[in-house]
Symmetry: C2
Subunit: 282 residues, 2 copies
Amino acid sequence: MNVIETIKEMQQTIITLRASGNRIGFVPTMGYLHEGHLTLMRQARKENDILIVSIFVNPLQFGAGEDLGAYPRDFEQDCVKAQKEEVDLLFYPSVKEMYPSASSVKVMVTDRTDVLCGRARPGHFDGVATVLTKLFNIVMPDRVYFGLKDAQQVAVVDGLIHDFNFPIELVPVPTVREKDGLAKSSRNVYLSPLERDQAKELYQGLQLANNMIEEGERNPESIVQLVKGHIEKHCDGVIDYVEIRTYPELKPVETIVGKVILAIAVKFSSARLIDNLILEIV
Amino acid sequence: MNVIETIKEMQQTIITLRASGNRIGFVPTMGYLHEGHLTLMRQARKENDILIVSIFVNPLQFGAGEDLGAYPRDFEQDCVKAQKEEVDLLFYPSVKEMYPSASSVKVMVTDRTDVLCGRARPGHFDGVATVLTKLFNIVMPDRVYFGLKDAQQVAVVDGLIHDFNFPIELVPVPTVREKDGLAKSSRNVYLSPLERDQAKELYQGLQLANNMIEEGERNPESIVQLVKGHIEKHCDGVIDYVEIRTYPELKPVETIVGKVILAIAVKFSSARLIDNLILEIV
C-alpha cells in the first residue's frame, strides 16, 4: 500500500493507472476506520482493479458549534486496517494541501438538505459536496462507495454525481449491523450498558414498520406514530425525528408508494444514533 | 465532424478516445461562432489530438433582465464554420438534456465576481461555473480554451479549475483585433460608423497606459485617469469602468507590480464594448 500526500502525485498516479485500463474503486473517509468503512473497502476491492481510500478530516463540513479539533484520529491504526483490506493507494492530504488558500468557488447543495439530519447542520452538506467534488477530480474513480446508514449523505452524493454529470457510479452499501440489529457505528461505544440494550429497539421499530407496510399500510403518519410509540416505550433516548420521505429526493410523502425512506434519529445521553429503512413499494 | 446531442453518448465516446491515449482539446461556446471562437479552435486544433466544441446557450448565466430568448443562434452556419476548423466532435445538447429537472447542486463563485463586469450581473458567474463543471465532467478535456477578451471569465475559470482540482489545463488565448486595434466581437456590428471609428480609442487608451507604465508610472490612479481622459475626449460612449486589479485574483492594486489587468468597459448607443491589457511588472 502506498500513502500519497499530494494532489499532484495522486492525479499523475491515477492518470497512469487509468491509461492502462484499470478500473478504480474509491472509498472516501475521515479516518478512524471501523467495520462500516472496512465493509465498503471489501466490496470495492472485489469490484475494481485498484482500490483507493482517502483519509481527510474535512474542516468545511464542520459547523461553528461542532468540534473539529476533537474529531478522533488514529492514522497508524488506520494504515494497519487499510493494508489488511488490500488497499492499493491511501490518499492522506493535509488541510493545507486541500485548501492552500481561500477558495474562489464552493458547491451549494440546494435540495435534500433542509430535512432529517441536515436541518440541524446548515452548511454541512455544502462542505461534503465541495470536498467530494475535489476528491472526485483528484482520484477520478469509476465507482465510489458510501454506506446507506448515512442515507441522506448518499442522497446528496447521488444528486451531486447526477446533476454535475460526474462519470462515476455511486455504489450505496447496505448498513452493517450487530447481531441484535443495531447499526454499527463508532458512536455505539458511548452508550451505557442499559442504553446499548435499548438501542436495538431502533432496528426493532424499523422492522415493525416494515411488517406493517408489507401488510398493506400506506399511510405514512400511521407508520411514524407506530415507530415513535415503540421507541418511546422501550428507550430512554429522546426522539430527534422519525420521518418518511421519498428516496433519494427526500420529498414529503402522502402515501407510501415508490422508493421511500423511513429515517430515525434518537439522542441518548452521550450519543445520537441514526438508522433507516429504504423500501420500494410498487 | 460528428454532432452529439446526449451526455451519455458524449461521455462514452470520450472514454473510448481517452483509452487510446488521445489528448483532448475543448472549446466551450454559446454558438453564433465568430473569429474569436475560430481562433480558439485553431489553437486547440494544433495542440491536441481531438478537438471538441460545445454549443449550448446556458440559461443559468442569464439574469432576470437579460434576454435569453433573443440570444442569437445559427446552428447551420456554426456547423459549416466548425467543420472548416476540423472540429472532431460538436456537442450540442438541449436545455432539457443539460437540466432535466431542478438541480440539487450549484457552483457558487465566492470571489473574483463582485468587480468589473460581474458587479452588474449577480449570479452570472455562478451559472458559468455550474455549466462548466458539468461540461468538464462530460467532455473530460486535457485542455480548455478561453479568450482573454473576457478576462474576468478566464479569472473565474482559473479559480474553478484550480480550487476544484479539475485535471485540466486552462489555455487563455490573446484577444484577436481588427487592423486598428479594436477587439473583435460580435457586438461590433451594432456600432454606428462614427462609433466604430471611435471604438479604436479603447485600444489606443490601453496603449497609452502601457507606454506610461513602461516609462515607470506605478500609480494605478494616474493610469486610470489617463485612460478615462483619453476615452472621454475621443468617444461619445459612456465609460462604465476603467480599473486596474491583480490578475487573476482581481484584488485592488495600490502600486502597479506583479501581474495586473487594466480593464475597460464603455457603453455606446447599442453596444457595450470591453477590452483589457494584462501586464506582468517585475
